[in-house]
Amino acid sequence: MDNIITAKNIVKRYSQHVALNDVSFTVPTGTIYGLLGPNGAGKTSMIRIINQITAPDSGEVLFNNEKLAPYHAMQIGYLPEERGLYKKMKVGEQAVYLARLKGMEKADAIAKLKEWFIKFDIKTWWDKKVEDLSKGMQQKVQFIVTVLHQPKLLILDEPFSGFDPINVEIIRNELLRMKNEGTTIILSTHNMSSVEELCDNLTLINQSKVVLEGNVNELRHRFKLHVWEVKFQGNEDSVKNALTGKYELLELFQENNLTVGKIKIPEGLNSNDLLRTLLPACTVINFSEILPSMSEVFISVVTSTNPTKKA
């Protein structure tokens, strides 16, 4: 698989601190890539380097295996976290202006914008001034402007903030549609459920360094705690008795006339062993492994890489 972005040993220093310390990662073409990290980790610095807003002190970024150059900006769509529009300008006029800055022809920009305005049901906004729109409405316009020129790479910094659940769903579907059409999307967000749902791969940056990189599913497997969920019919006590001594029963509760148990398998044993233990004690209806959420992975990695002890 081709990589649309290859970041090699990026270092970015500001006067007081190092924002990026030897950061390397690759973004495969046609995927949704999560760029995660706690506040102040260096995500925005990295995004700005890919957008050529700032330059790294050392290291390089390749765009489709070419050294990043100004003309690549036309193939990138960027939605910053802190975003705004000219308040006094009219919506349509402003969108056309921003599209033309991305290299679109005026007529083409107007035609495409009209399509999007119909799709998002905001036709009537064209001649409104931006200051007359609500924040959520402005976000919609910003999103359209970001994707209008059909960039090969979309960089979205907290794209869902400010949207209501209905609009979040609309944007999510648009992102998936664009991914299917071949667009690569870099998604920087603190919303872990959208990472699980949308991202194929991710990089986790903490304290200016990459602390985790890989496929989302692989990572969840890598961080799994060997906890399984069993739904069964039968006597709770006989199940408890069967598990005692070997397995750790984390939770036990009733759900839809079934009993649900969360059980941790110790080292040296596997899921078959657990099943064998359970079968004489109850009727197993459902048996599945619980993978950690990305949120749990995030927290465990970030806390383990934060230096708590000082020499």
Binding site: R48, T54, D57, P80, L85, Y86, R100, L101
Partner: protein
Amino acid sequence: MSKISLIIQREYITRVRKKSFLVISILGPLLFAGIIFVPALLASTKNENQRIVVVDETKALCGIMESNSSVHYDYGYCNVGIGEVKKIFADSAHASVLYIHKTEQLQQVQLYSKSDPGIDVVSAIENQLNTIFEKANMKANNLDQSIIDGVKSNIKVQDIVGNQETHSDYNMALGYVSSFFIYLFVLLYSVQVMRGVMEEKTNRIVEIIISSVRPFQLMMGKVIGVGLVGLTQFLIWVLLGWGIYGFGSSYIQAQQINPKNVTTTEQTIKSGRPIEDDKATATNIRAGSKSAMYATLDNVDTMLRATNWILVIGGFIFYFLGGYLLFSALFAAVGSAVDQDTDTQQFMLPVTAPLILSIAVMGGIITNPHSAMAVWFSIIPLTSPIAMMARLPFGVPPWQLELSMTLLVASIFGAVWLAGRIYRIGLLMYGKKVTYRELGKWIFYK
């Protein structure tokens, strides 16, 4: 279309479309016309507050003193006693009572006023009385007026530089007006650039834009776009001003009263006959001051022909644009470095100081255009746009002009480079109060 021209276009169109642009475009010339014409019109209008009742015990001066723009004499009570006049004076529309008492040798007269009449009125009365008594004394000593007139001389200095006559006073006016325009334009529009930069920064649209264009392009696009707005405004002012000037001067020409009236006044004064008709005097005065105004306008035409217009207009355009580019780049950097209006002050002061300084010394420059101070101010780039413009109408040695222009162009490049370095970093700096030290560091960031 190139991106910078897109930015220029947006900056230009959004500003020219604003209502405030229209208002300033129209009010500007009216304001300037007001500055020029209103004092002239005021001077030609007789002030009712300066009506003075003359009470003359000697009877010799009744109707002799001539009303002018400062005073208007009312001889209606000339023969009434001062005590009686003073009684009714309080309720009259008159400002003062001039009391000339009977005496052997007139040394002093009294002016009773409701409020301080002001130096103009007092000196006008003194001058007139002295002139009248001088003439009377001459007559008494058998000195003929024509001999006295023949003795008087009125020598004027004619300025000749090279082979051409110059007009120092007009050069002063030209230098003053054109450099003041540069000052006004540079300050007005550089501050607009700064506000525009701050708007983009606080709106947070700037990050979207600089992901499409380089910060330098954005900055230059704004500087050029706003500059064009200024040029447009200036052009409108010039055209409207021209129209108002044309209208104003033709109006004054049309209003000029039949020359016969003026000669009558002169004859009356010469013959020493008292003028009985009050109204006629007033009309004559008005006609007289209008013809003086017309003469001024006529002199302006003479000056227009005598000036080296290629140098002055060329220099004006050069320093106009040069000054604007230099300062607007610096103001753009200031705008990028701050988050909010209140923080602009600390950075604006050092940038505006040279502008204010050059306006402050301009008076000295135009009265003495070749002094060391004038030369230095017109060569140092931050003050040269205003200082050199003030000097240009007087003629400047070529080497000074060349040096000044070269230095200005070089510092424009320097300022634009410097501003560009600060600008690209400043745009994305939020929530931090920036110090000069920090600005210095930004220049060297990669």
